[in-house]
């Protein structure tokens, strides 16, 4: 065999310059030389917990994976490489501190990517909503009355009645916190930002909103509207 020739027909192949593997990227096969070390999920946990070169190497590779994943996930948003780098760094610290909580019911890399995407998205939402108060969020989600200036009056009688039923249900059946939370969500505010302003966390906010949704459903049904009737009026725009 000539020096530098490929040895064997199967993959991976040993070449003079190193190891060549074949990878599948979005449906097509490509070859790459000297790929990063392949790690099983267990390898990731033990390598990241190791001190010295082994731990550093795993950290560097994980950081590369997080940055690459984030850049791809957020490519449709205005490019902000500082946000990608900062989020990757923050997520890396979180992952290291929580590595023992990884249960192994997903691939380790998927678990790590789920953390970094949440960190980045939370940061993006925080920046976008930082100057908006809870009152403004809630106001943005308020449903105007049937014949308000902002909405033309040329809608059906049935639809006007439905709007009034829903408006009354929101006004009369929800606690102020439930009303703010639900209206803020209708206005497009993200739950982590609503939760912060209500001095709570995202799970407790979901419970608050859940109880509000139950009350709204009961109020709509009590007002004599069946689900089918509501749906038929809604679809008849």
């Amino acid at each position: 065999m000539k020096p530098g020739a490929q040895r064997g027909r199967s993959w991976p192949r040993v070449f003079r310059g190193g190891l060549i593997v074949r990878i599948q990227r979005e449906g097509s096969w490509q070859t790459i030389t000297n790929p990063p070390k392949y790690r099983t999920d267990e390898d990731w946990v033990s390598d990241l917990s190791a001190v010295g070169f082994r731990g550093d190497e795993a950290l560097t590779e994980l950081r590369r994976i997080l940055v690459t994943g984030l850049a791809r996930a957020f490519h449709q948003f205005p490019a902000d490489s500082a946000m990608v780098q900062d989020s990757a760094q923050e997520a890396l610290l979180l992952i290291i501190s929580r590595v023992e909580t990884y249960r192994g019911d997903s691939r380790f890399v998927t678990w790590a990517l789920s953390i970094v995407t949440r960190v980045a998205l939370s940061e993006m939402r925080r920046a976008r909503w930082k100057d908006v108060s809870l009152d403004e969020m809630s106001e943005a989600g308020r449903i105007p009355p049937p014949a308000s200036e902002a909405s033309p009056a040329n809608i059906s009688y049935e639809r006007s009645r439905l709007i009034e039923v829903v408006r009354n249900a929101i006004e009369d059946n929800l606690t102020p916190k439930q009303r703010d939370a639900i209206q803020a969500e209708l206005g497009g505010a993200p739950p982590d930002e609503i939760a912060k302003r209500l001095g709570t966390n995202r799970n407790a906010l979901y419970k608050l909103t859940y109880d509000g949704r139950v009350r709204l459903k009961q109020a709509i049904l009590r007002a004599g509207w069946s689900e089918d009737h509501v749906r038929s009026v809604l679809s008849g725009t």
Binding site: L186, V214, R231
Partner: protein, 81 residues
Amino acid sequence: MSERDTKLKSVIDMALSVLPHEIGCDDCFDYFAAYADHLTNGAAMPEPLRLVGEHLERCACCMEELQLLLEAMKTQNKVSR
């Protein structure tokens, strides 16, 4: 659809889609990675992951996170053996 119609439809969907047992955003996140792996592998969803799916249908923010995670996962290669 006018802005008011969009809000009206959203709030009615929120109300009428209530299930007796729903999980919250943090519980959903606990199983997020497993859900994304099952989704990309086309594997059948076990019970806790079905609850994640139900939450995602009702929570636009978690759904947005899932879409971004699935996009990020596309950078991961399958190594030929």
